[in-house]
């Protein structure tokens, strides 16, 4: 049994309980903004719910899952115990305390500013401080991951770090870079404003700092899914990883290109010039490369498995894959939804084309497909994969696990296909209720109704997921003796040696630094060269 078993379970259960609650809110939000009459429908409740749903999904589910899974990978892939259990628990405690503080503040109605903040709207300081504590907890995790890899490398000189751990550390390094933007925004601008220490904020500066974080955070969420693609899915399918080096290169490219591209969230903003928008658009184009490389490498790995299982012909190997195994099924469904989500993203990043869809339901569809469709789908699969090893109990009903994954994919598609259409029609975002009596938008009603059904299916799937996991802990669950060890996919050619560039991050940190200086140097400096007029803080937690 794992030494960090309780630590991992504590993180993952926290993540999934919060996820289930946020799924309830999400389904209710779909209902409220539809033509159907929903209970509790006031803007007050709606924005409270959107804030809770966003913060829970984007910050709590992800951070706790990534930390828990990181500890699991560190112990199983490196086959050694964590550098410090005490610090790991301290990080957990900080994050739990921060989560509780944030959740209670949101529920009290004093933080309805959505999870993306939007200063000069300013919530109760407890909301921001809680989130900062979650991030500080995750920084402890980052240090532990980097230390774990360093200790392993010292003990195994010249040997390539196992891919799963290499990817985990790439994520830890990226997260330290990523959180710098939002941390500066919160600590130096937003929290002082929320405490009443300052009366004004430089809105352009806060938006730019948040954009620093806003794209790379998505890759922070995504990397565990890619770890599963590279190191778990080929194994589950009974094949081999096509190329270990391509895996390393992809994770490095994520680290390098996910950061200097955040300005593409501000294409429609007046405080940045076309030149820097263009440069960051060009770099965003390159962010598609690691994903497209992954698509090929993983498809080839699956093809190996399919052919070894007797599949023939150009596409016959697809049918030969063991689709009843949750990890394999989830990989297929995740790639399917990644096609739609990635396609939507291609439109978003296309410079002028962003004007066609910015802040419409198109964007909501895009990130639900990437986040819900790909990221969370693989979180499910990872949970099903590692729960037997965490609990020492056997999977009882894999068909229920597969049904849950299918429900999730169907619900996600039913919800987001209408959103794409409505987005192109101009349906704007963050609306508590639409006036469907207006002839200009009356035709949207049925589409929104369809997406409500999608939300309901997603909720059913989320609850079934919790049920599936809970069953591992039930008394009648069969004990596994011995508990099978976690095995990660072996490459067709397992590497003996890899270049230092593919075995560590020293070079890549320099690259990130250079790219960030080019991409964000002047766009941030301009606010200090000639400070623009400031906007008055609008508190949502008190009058005035």
């Amino acid at each position: 049994m794992l030494a960090a078993r309780r630590l991992v379970l504590a993180h993952l259960w926290t993540a999934f309980v919060v996820f289930a609650a946020a799924a309830v809110l999400g389904a209710w939000q779909m209902w409220v903004r539809s033509p159907l009459a929903a209970p509790f429908s006031t803007p007050d409740n709606y924005y409270l719910s959107v804030t809770a749903h966003g913060a829970a999904m984007a910050y709590v589910l992800t951070t706790f899952f990534i930390m828990g899974f990181g500890y699991y990978v560190a112990e199983t892939a490196l086959e050694r115990t964590l550098p410090s259990m005490r610090w790991a628990w301290l990080g957990f405690a900080l994050a739990i305390f921060g989560t509780a503080m944030t959740v209670l503040t949101v529920l009290s109605g004093r933080a309805s500013v959505l999870y993306t903040f939007y200063p000069p709207l300013t919530a109760s300081p407890f909301f921001y401080v809680g989130l900062v504590l979650v991030v500080v907890g995750s920084w402890i995790w980052c240090v532990l991951m980097i230390l774990a890899m360093a200790q392993w490398k010292r003990a195994n000189p010249g040997r390539p770090v196992p891919l799963a751990m290499f990817a985990t550390v790439s994520n830890a390094v990226m997260w330290l870079w990523t959180t710098a933007g939002v941390a500066v925004e919160l600590l130096f601008i937003v929290i002082p404003a929320s405490l009443g220490l300052t009366e004004t904020v430089d809105v352009g500066l806060t938006r730019t700092l948040f954009s620093w974080t806003l794209h790379a955070i998505v890759y922070f969420w995504l990397i565990p899914a890619y770890i599963a693609f590279y190191t778990m899915a080929p194994q589950a399918a009974g094949g081999r990883l096509y190329s270990d080096s391509m895996g390393r290169l992809s994770f490095i490219l994520f680290l390098v290109y996910s950061l200097p591209v955040g300005l593409h969230h501000l294409f429609m903003d007046p405080e940045h010039s076309t030149g820097f928008k263009f440069v960051q658009m060009s770099l965003t184009v390159l962010v598609t490369v690691p994903t497209l490389l992954t698509v090929f490498t993983i498809t080839a790995s699956m093809e190996i498995a399919g052919r070894m299982r007797g599949g023939t012909g150009l596409f016959g190997w697809i049918g030969a894959l063991p689709w009843r195994r949750p990890m394999v099924l989830a990989t297929g469904l995740a790639f399917f939804m990644l096609w739609f989500g990635g396609g939507g993203g291609l439109v978003n990043m296309s410079y002028g084309m962003n004007a066609m869809v910015h802040n419409t339901s198109w964007v909501t569809a895009h990130f639900h497909l990437i986040f819900g469709g790909t990221v969370v789908m693989m979180y499910f699969a990872i949970a099903y994969e590692i729960w037997p090893r965490l609990t020492g109990r056997a999977t009882q009903a894999p068909q229920l696990q597969c049904a849950q994954l299918w429900l999730w994919a169907i619900g996600m598609m039913v919800m987001t296909v209408p959103w794409h259409w409505l987005g192109l029609e101009g349906q704007w975002r963050r609306v508590a209720h639409f006036d469907y009596a207006d002839p200009a938008i009356a035709s949207w009603g049925p589409w929104v109704d369809v997406s409500v059904a999608g939300g309901a299916i997603l909720l059913a799937s989320a609850l079934l997921f919790i049920w599936n996991l809970a069953r591992f802990h039930a008394d009648q669950a069969a004990k596994l003796t011995p508990v099978p060890p976690q095995r990660y996919a072996v490459a067709v050619h397992p590497p003996d040696h890899v270049p230092a560039a593919l075995n560590g991050f020293a070079l890549w940190n320099v690259v990130v630094l250079v790219l960030m200086a080019v991409a964000y140097g002047f766009p941030l400096a301009q606010f200090f060269i000639e400070a623009p007029p400031q906007a008055i803080v609008h508190h949502v937690d008190r009058a005035g």
Binding site: A305, R307, M308, F315, G316, R324, V328, M353, R487, V490
Partner: protein
């Protein structure tokens, strides 16, 4: 493969040498075809939106 092994928790049926070698004779032709088709479709979809939605909606900037 039987249904039982299909649904067993994936302990990783370690691939054996000859089967792997046989598979690698054709791999990655299928992967190239499948992911190639997906990417081409993606490009087609992007171009369709570019030509038929974006461009007709007029200049901006």
């Amino acid at each position: 493969m039987t249904a039982v092994s299909d649904s067993a928790p994936s302990q990783g049926d370690q691939p054996d040498g000859p089967a792997l070698e046989r598979a690698l004779k054709t791999v990655p032709r299928g992967a190239m075809a499948l992911s190639g088709a997906a990417v081409l479709l993606l490009l087609a979809a992007w171009l369709a939106i570019y030509l038929f939605v974006f461009l007709p909606r007029g200049p901006v900037g």
